[in-house]
Amino acid sequence: MADYETIQINTLFEIPRLNPGVMKDSSPFVAAAVHQEALGFPGELVDDWQAKAIEKFGELLKKSRALQVYLDGCVKCGACTDKCHYFLGTGDPKNMPVARQDLLRKIYRRYFTFAGKYFPKLVGAEDLTKEVLDEWYSYFHQCSQCRRCSVYCPYGIDTAEISMAAREIMDHIGKGQKYCNEILGKVHKIGNNLGLPEKALINTLEDLEEDIEDETGVHVRIPVNEKGADILLVTPSADFFAEPHIDGLIGYAKVFHAAGVSWTVSSYASEAANFAMFIGSQEQMKMLTDRIRKAAEDLGVKRIIFGECGHAWRVAYSFMNTLSGPFDFLDPDYPVPQHICEFTWDLIQKGQLKLDKSANDHMTLTFHDSCNVARGSRMGDTPGGQFEIPRAIIRAVCNNFVDMAADTIGEATFCCGGGGGLLTDDLMEIRTKGASPRMTALQEVVEEQGVTHMAAICAICKTQFAKVMPKYGIGMDRIVSLHQLVSNAIILDGQEGSGTDEAETETTENVATA
């Protein structure tokens, strides 16, 4: 562990020399039988796993045009080879997107193509052996499904689709990943990733209401299971307890309060995150989005709004209508679903929020575009709204904002290093190394532009940064929720004082307790 704990930051985007096999031993814990079986997967590696894997592979090829086209179409041009943060951070050639895809492609060619069946050596086709399976398990869990490679591929080949398929195959032969599968079991059973039951959720949020009242003197509600509310808020469960996530939740509550709308959280669907996307299971993904639909129907809401979470927003924005729609029982005047940033920005534009920008004057902000928001979704009506709206909000609530280098933001944004189901302690090494491109870009604006804090709109990014930033010499309190900034600046009717002093005390306290 010691070799990566103090990390030297190199020149921005220095492409590393190849270091074959350096990350081959990085694998997450394998799911136990109990976690596998809860999802309907075999408990352990089945006896005829090779045949089963090829059978599942064939099934997926028939179900996914993307998989079929992407496995056929690669010409090995190399456009993606220097685009993956895990490659840039490790130098392991199998972390080059094309090489990662080839782990699956070589098996595809061997079993499903003419050339690979008759001329395997020529086209790099291989039999599915135990060694190959181990490589799959290792390297398909070194992909955060961030889609950065797909931006640069001349055919749009998306390694996320490949790694999802590989994980789906592995789940079906009994080699699942503990972190994702255990969490999915909790959502099915209890309703959120944490396994936080209704009573605990209600208590937590009541405590939070008291905290807000202590701070502002205003009784801001965070309702749970309130029938007849207009808005159902679905947010990552990390927002209920983790730092800095919870400050974002306070921000949403204040915005709803200031807007004078009725809203509620559901304990049944108390999770925006949908780890089923990470394991490539559309069936599991639908089970989770169906929970959200059911909660919306049961509570009789008119709108669904999602809190700050990257992959959750991709699932909600891009997939939920397909999987659990149509949502024609909701108010047709609003998009289904909406992002909390769309909601807040709309209010700001209409001048319905009272804001004191100086409340954030103790910070100079930059913004981290989360990969699933950036490359797998949209906000607002126009392409790229997912970049403009969060920045517009920050500019509206902060005086000091600068962007990081242009080739590290927007559609070119670097993953935090912890996405795609990798946010687990057993993958700490790859998480740390994979964060290096983002950390490099951050360090640059810290040194040259005096940036003090980085805002994000993703629960995974926030947790990951809080954990890895100290390894790069940046304090863990330097990552903030976007709605935390809104929370600092917003002035509620009847609020005591300007709020600035309290905000600063609050921040210091967080650092002390974290």
Binding site: I15, L18, L61, K62, K63, S64, R65, A66, Q68, V69, D72, G73, V75, K76, C77, G78, A79, T81, D82, K83, P93, M96, A99, T113, A115, F119, K121, L122, V123, R147, S150, Y152, C153, P154, Y155, G156, I157, D158, E161, Q282, Y317, S318, F319, N321, T322, L323, G325, P326, P335, P337, A374, R375, G376, S377, R378, D381, P383, G384, Q386, E411
Partner: protein
């Protein structure tokens, strides 16, 4: 004898190419794309997607974003090859179409650009460590094949001319099923043999990127999942089952 063998091979190769490509294209077209996965920011309308696709196919937009050298070599090779192929229509048409005559002066020199692009692309496979790592024997052989075709073609154009009148009689004979003798020049036979190989392997090789790019969901989908429900066949099937069960 030689003419007959080549004539038969060309019919065979054409059949393999056409049938193979039709099979592959219908496979791509029929395989469902169950979820909306355009790489965003993506166009929000059909015409927007058409434009995105056009920029991708005509200018290699994404490759340009990635790496300017690869883009330059790749684009020059493809654009030059397009000119060269169009120029070759003069050997298959009588009278020659007017616009084929127009591009003739450019097409003649495009062969050099094509060869230069290919040589540079091949050079990358040795000189760039990352590209060397990902190259399989077939990736090298494909470039050798194309370089062979371009070089033998240029040889005939500029060094050892073949009997082009007789060659055209042969190709027109193939089209009209009225076989004519093929000039037995070694360079011509090499050129045609390599082209035959290319036609045979096209539908079973990475050359499938040519039709494949049009079916890439990350590029050809409209970004409108909230506005318009994108159907997934397996979800629709579930819904049909449910409504049937409900009706009973």
């Amino acid at each position: 004898m030689l003419s007959t063998i080549f004539a038969i091979l060309f019919y065979l190769a054409t059949a393999v190419l056409v049938v193979g490509l039709v099979y592959r294209i219908q496979l791509y077209a029929r395989t469902p794309a169950p979820l909306k996965i355009p790489t965003t920011p993506a166009p929000v309308t059909r015409p927007g997607v058409f434009l995105r696709m056009f920029r991708e196919v005509a200018f290699f937009e994404s490759l340009f974003k990635s790496n300017k050298w690869t883009w330059l070599f790749g684009w020059v090779f493809h654009a030059a090859m397009l000119l060269v192929v169009l120029r070759h229509l003069r050997y298959f048409t009588e009278p020659v179409w007017f616009w084929v005559n127009w591009i003739q002066p450019f097409g003649k020199y495009a062969g050099f650009a094509m060869l230069a692009g290919l040589a540079a692309l091949w050079g990358r496979r040795f000189l760039v460590e990352r590209v060397r790592y990902i190259s399989a024997p077939s990736d090298h052989l494909m470039l050798i094949l194309l370089i062979g075709i371009a070089a033998s073609g240029l040889m005939m154009k500029y060094v050892v001319h073949t009997d082009i009148i007789a060659l055209k009689a042969f190709t027109l004979g193939l089209i009209h099923f009225n076989w004519q003798p093929l000039p037995a020049d070694p360079v011509l036979l090499v050129h045609l043999s390599l082209v035959l190989i290319l036609m045979f392997i096209f539908p079973v090789s990475k050359l499938l990127h040519a039709p494949g790019v049009f079916f890439s969901p990350s590029r050809n989908q409209v970004d409108n999942p909230r506005e318009k429900r994108h159907p997934a066949p397996w979800v629709t099937a579930l819904e049909t089952d449910r409504s049937k069960a409900g009706g009973d």
